[in-house]
């Protein structure tokens, strides 16, 4: 794909005179906040920025490691959002996408002695290639059957790809040292944050330009999309490639965060958490997906803080914190699907509207354009 396409400039519409009777709609009076309002908005933004940028610096390494994981989960959530949200295709094999990225990067650094940048780049390329293959399948098979294909792909990768001794180091795992200059947990946290910023930027620009509009049209009505000049196949594949690149990046960052990757990490349970965190976060809502994903990465830690000695329910064994996402996830998922199909993204909408300079109101917050039936399964 070339960056610049030479296309004839479209003809400028010369006429100004309407040829049809205009439809007049009375617009609501526009609202602009005063100086104090802007200061308040600035303070809230600054507080959020401080929480993300400064708060981890005050914490110990163990905590920062988990915060980094939250940042990486946000990247993975945005990856899945491209498939689930923008194209409506479900992926139940995302643990394989992420895992292949993780092992590729670790393999490049440890076995081939490549620098971090090259390793991460390779993880993104490999992620793109495997997503492209799955994308080609999705052109033929959609809906529930495609979900089954991704599920099968994930488990197959677990049993085959992740057993390649050279790539994964077998059950012993593959070392993945942190890159030079980012060897402390805190510095690595900032590095991941920078990567997340790039992913958010790309995702934002994607949806603001023709590629994202084409994806929305293809999801909703492929016939209309084609009539508008969109090559439905090419854009479906593009979505898979973008998701694959994000997932590969997320996997690579995850590997170097742990400094050691073991194949047991990438099991089906992880794929479920990925899907749940994306849906609970809110499909097609960047902020929601980031918050939702980070929440599911932090949930174990949260559990630790809340129930320091483990959760003891009389008559039941203590629940280890590893199971927290898998227990709380479905509950939140049920709540999301039945009450707030737009997920966290829908719940933070009043705040978002306010931050953009609107009035703070709960108007229209009970409805969301996300439908449970959006996902073709």
């Amino acid at each position: 794909m070339s960056l610049e396409e030479s296309v004839d400039a479209p003809p400028v519409v010369e006429t100004e005179a309407p040829v049809a009777e205009p439809i007049v709609v009375e617009a609501a009076p526009s609202f602009r906040p005063g100086p104090a309002g802007w200061v308040a908005r600035g303070l809230v933004m600054a507080a959020a920025a401080a929480l993300v940028l400064l708060f981890p610096a005050t914490r110990g390494n163990v905590d920062v490691h988990i915060y980094t994981q939250a940042v990486i989960f946000a990247i993975i959530g945005l990856s899945l959002n491209v498939l689930l949200g923008y194209t409506g295709q479900i992926s139940l094999g995302h643990q394989a996408f992420v895992g292949v990225g993780a092992f590729t990067s670790a393999y490049m650094v440890t076995v081939h002695g490549q620098p971090f940048v090259a390793a991460v780049g390779m993880a993104m390329v490999v992620g793109a290639v495997q997503a492209l293959l799955l994308g080609i399948v999705s052109l033929r098979i959609t809906g529930l059957y495609f979900a089954l294909v991704t599920l099968a792909y994930g488990t197959m990768a677990e049993e085959s790809l992740f057993n390649i001794q050279k790539l994964t180091g077998g059950s012993a795992g593959q070392p993945a040292p942190k890159p030079a200059g980012f060897t402390t947990d805190l510095r690595y946290y900032y590095l991941c944050l920078a990567f997340l910023a790039v992913v958010v930027w790309v995702d934002w620009r994607l949806m603001k330009t023709k590629g994202g509009r084409a994806l929305s049209a293809v999801r909703e009505n492929p016939r209309v999309a084609a009539t508008f000049g969109t090559d439905v196949k090419v854009y479906t594949l593009m979505a898979f490639v973008v998701a694959g690149v994000f997932a590969g990046l997320g996997g690579a960052l995850l590997a170097h965060n742990d400094t050691f990757v073991v194949r047991d990490l990438f099991n089906f349970q992880l794929a479920l958490v990925f899907v749940i965190m994306t849906v609970v976060g809110g499909l097609r809502n960047r902020t929601g997906v980031v918050i939702g994903s980070a929440f599911f990465a932090l949930i174990g830690k949260l559990f630790d803080v809340l129930f320091e000695n483990g959760l003891h329910i009389p008559g039941l064994k203590a629940l280890p914190k590893e199971y927290a996402p898998i227990v709380i996830g479905p509950m939140l998922l049920l709540f999301t699907l039945t009450r707030h199909p737009g997920g966290v993204g829908q719940q933070v909408r009043p705040l978002q509207r306010w931050l953009r300079g609107g009035r703070f109101s709960f108007k229209n917050t009970h409805e969301s354009e996300v439908r449970v039936s959006d996902v073709r399964a």
């Binding site: 794909m1 070339s2 960056l3 205009p22 620009r205 929305s216 009505n221 000049g229």
Partner: protein, 270 residues
């Protein structure tokens, strides 16, 4: 030179012959009407022209080029624009977003450049936005730009769809029942709009239409289909007084009502 030429196209779906040996042509600047009772194969013919169906036999020529093997989006790129009977819009998006989506091929940058956020794409986006606003203004939709499409009245949707199709910069406009759901007065106003648009945008128009007065008002030439076959063609007056056409619309009994040799054939008002 004819802009569009359908050369004896036939298509079968299983045992159903949806179109048989259908030929039609539209010259530059012409407005061509396609009429026929329900199930006559009008929309099927449109689907063959726009590339949703590949004909079993025959070919479609557009601007002197055989386009039978091209996909829908490739024909859009060549300058075909089409509206749908049940409104072809992205329903969850706003009017502005729809008009931007329709300018997919006019953007002038690649999807990758847009994703990366090259500065030139910001400039291009602003230009697309201005063009969307201009088109909305022309069709009297300026106030609705930020409204979500879902929930707007049907007649307005039809108008938005027309604006969206014009945004694809077509040379040939294929309209599938543009006035369905409109009353006679609205249909008449639409006829005036259509003539104006043809002048403004240099369009050739092929339209499936049921309002006979509108067909008579704007069409240069009319084709009548029945059971997937071409029944009659000619000027609106010729077609409307064709006894075959009347029989197709009103059924066998209509013929018996008419006196033998009756020249005062009733106007078709289906």
């Amino acid at each position: 030179m004819s802009v569009l030429e359908v050369r004896s196209c036939s298509i079968r779906f299983g045992g159903v012959q949806a179109a048989r040996d259908v030929s039609l042509r539209a010259g530059e600047w012409e407005i061509v009407g396609v009429i026929g009772p329900n199930g006559a194969g009008k929309t099927t013919t449109f689907n063959i022209i726009t590339g949703f169906y590949r004909p079993n036999e025959g070919s479609v020529w557009f601007k002197g080029r055989d386009v039978t093997g091209l996909g829908v989006h490739e024909r859009t790129a060549l300058g075909m624009g089409r509206t749908f009977q049940n409104v072809g819009l992205v329903k969850s998006a706003t009017v502005r977003e729809n008009l931007l989506t329709a300018q997919h091929l006019e953007a002038g940058y690649s999807a990758l450049a847009g994703m990366v956020g090259l500065p030139s794409t910001f400039v291009a986006e602003r230009r697309l936005g201005q063009r969307a606003e201009a088109l909305a203004g022309i069709l009297g939709l300026g106030d609705l730009l930020e409204s979500r499409v879902a929930g707007l009245p049907y007649g307005v949707l039809k108008r938005i769809e027309l604006a969206a199709v014009l945004a694809t910069d077509p040379d040939l406009l294929l309209l599938d029942e543009p006035t369905s759901g409109m009353g006679p007065e609205e249909a008449h106003a639409f006829g005036a709009t259509l003539l104006e648009l043809r002048r403004e945008f240099d369009l050739t128009v092929v339209m499936i239409e049921h309002h006979v007065p509108l067909v008579a008002q704007v069409c240069d030439y009319v084709y009548c289909l029945n059971f997937g076959e071409l029944l009659a063609e000619g000027t609106p007056d010729q077609v409307r007084s064709n006894p075959e056409v009347i029989r197709a619309y009103l059924g066998q009994e209509a013929e018996e009502v008419l006196e033998p040799g009756d020249r005062g054939v009733p106007e078709v008002t289906v």
